[in-house]
Symmetry: C2
Subunit: 232 residues, 2 copies
DNA sequence: GCACCGACTGAACGCGTGTTTAGTCTGTTG
DNA sequence: CAACAGACTAAACACGCGTTCAGTCGGTGC
């Protein structure tokens, strides 16, 4: 007979899954089944009974978090521009632990990481296109590549920053994100606003180089009359 | 009696350490002591005999890789600009596995990761300062923050990219890095050359906001007379 | 010769892991 | 009531791990 636990709160299986998401976010995916079980207030055997194996539990957590990502994106659509999406999500204390799970996945790879990043890239593509149409952002030679780079860069910088000095309180993702932005927002926006180089020369040289590759097949547009440019 | 192994090549301890660096780079730091021992052609007990514990072996690998970083930086100084440092290092097949080790550390955190990143930041500071002095790069409001951001951004993007789709052959870092650059070089240099936004407005607004914070203590320079700017 | 020492090994120990087993309890269904 | 089903657990199992133990080898100093 279990002691001081609500006899039927909303499905023991879900409670175990939620506890697992939280524990994985806190301690990484090496956390033991027994630790998850203890968090959920059940025995380790019951975890296996409900999910079959630890791997299957991991997959169930992935699916749950992934479903949440899709749902919350649909809900928050239009409420924030691309750059502030994470911030808006993190503000909600309810969803913060789920973002912790996503950050863990980002460090470990796997399907959630890929799917999450792909969603972010798709969003970025939309936001960037709108920004270009509104005259806020400069156009790019390859919009898809830029959206991908911007996303990988933002998430990679955040992930590496968190890995290098882990936050004191991984639970409160909102505070963690604020700390990160307080450090990186200035150089980031400076880069966005004015770039880094004083001239377009390097870019133009590389574009020329692309249109006249030194080896392999020919490109798909320019007739390529210029060489790799050596005059000033 | 050991069978077909050179009786004295250069110290068994060093051979074990080198094997460990390689194995950790390939399989991560969860690789077992027995696996390292098998790679080195010795027994697991001998590994412990020489290093005391697996943790100590890990630390020895860290120190070795760290020492290599310092030495090779000293050697390669001036041979490459900041952005191409990694590329130059990766070209040398001899050092490629060590870079694999560094990338693993970047994903796992710890002292090597911090020290490596700090070295890269220090280098970036120098290179950026020279670039600004030569008129190649635009000056920044906070040069240190920019050097830090540029480094974290570059390494974070690379690390995340490698985590999301791990290379087929983690051994030769050179090919891996070429693949990465082939995908990301264009949007990267585009960002460096022209930035992203069409106007400095967001940056200037943020600078004004910094000089007149809405709460807490006052800043250290401007007398802060402007509000948070709402006119065009 | 003989004692000593460090390199080195195979076998074992202790522990934590994921998983299985056997069984108890509770609610439902005939 | 009897029979079944599923939630749930304590105990055990099998395994891989880092580490320890007891002992063998080969070289060196006396």
């Amino acid at each position: 007979m279990p002691a001081a636990r609500p006899p039927s709160d909303g499905g023991t299986r879900d409670r175990i899954r939620d506890a697992a998401v939280l524990r994985f976010a806190r301690s990484g995916f090496d956390a033991s089944v027994r630790a998850v079980a203890a968090d959920a207030g059940v025995s380790a055997a019951l975890v296996i009974h409900h999910f079959g194996s630890k791997d299957a539990l991991h997959r169930a957590c992935d699916e749950h978090v992934l479903a949440w990502i899709v749902a919350s994106k649909r809900h928050n659509m239009g409420r924030a521009t691309g750059g502030q999406l994470l911030q808006v999500l993190a503000e909600s204390d309810e969803y913060a632990p789920l973002l912790g799970y996503v950050m863990r996945s980002l460090q470990s790879g796997g399907d959630v990481a890929r799917a999450f990043v792909q969603h972010m890239i798709d969003d970025a593509r939309v936001y960037v296109r709108e920004a270009v149409a509104d005259g806020i952002a400069k156009p790019s030679v390859d919009e898809d590549a830029r959206a991908r780079y911007l996303t990988l860069s933002a998430l990679g910088t955040l992930s590496l920053s968190l890995t290098l000095d882990p936050p004191d309180d991984p639970e409160n993702f909102s505070a963690t994100l604020r700390t990160f932005l307080a450090e990186q927002y200035l150089p980031m926006i400076e880069m966005f606003a004015q770039g880094f180089l004083t001239s377009r020369r390097m870019l133009d040289d590389y574009l020329l180089y692309l249109s006249d590759p030194p080896t392999g097949g020919e490109p798909d547009d320019a007739p390529a009359t210029a060489t790799t440019s050596e005059e000033p």
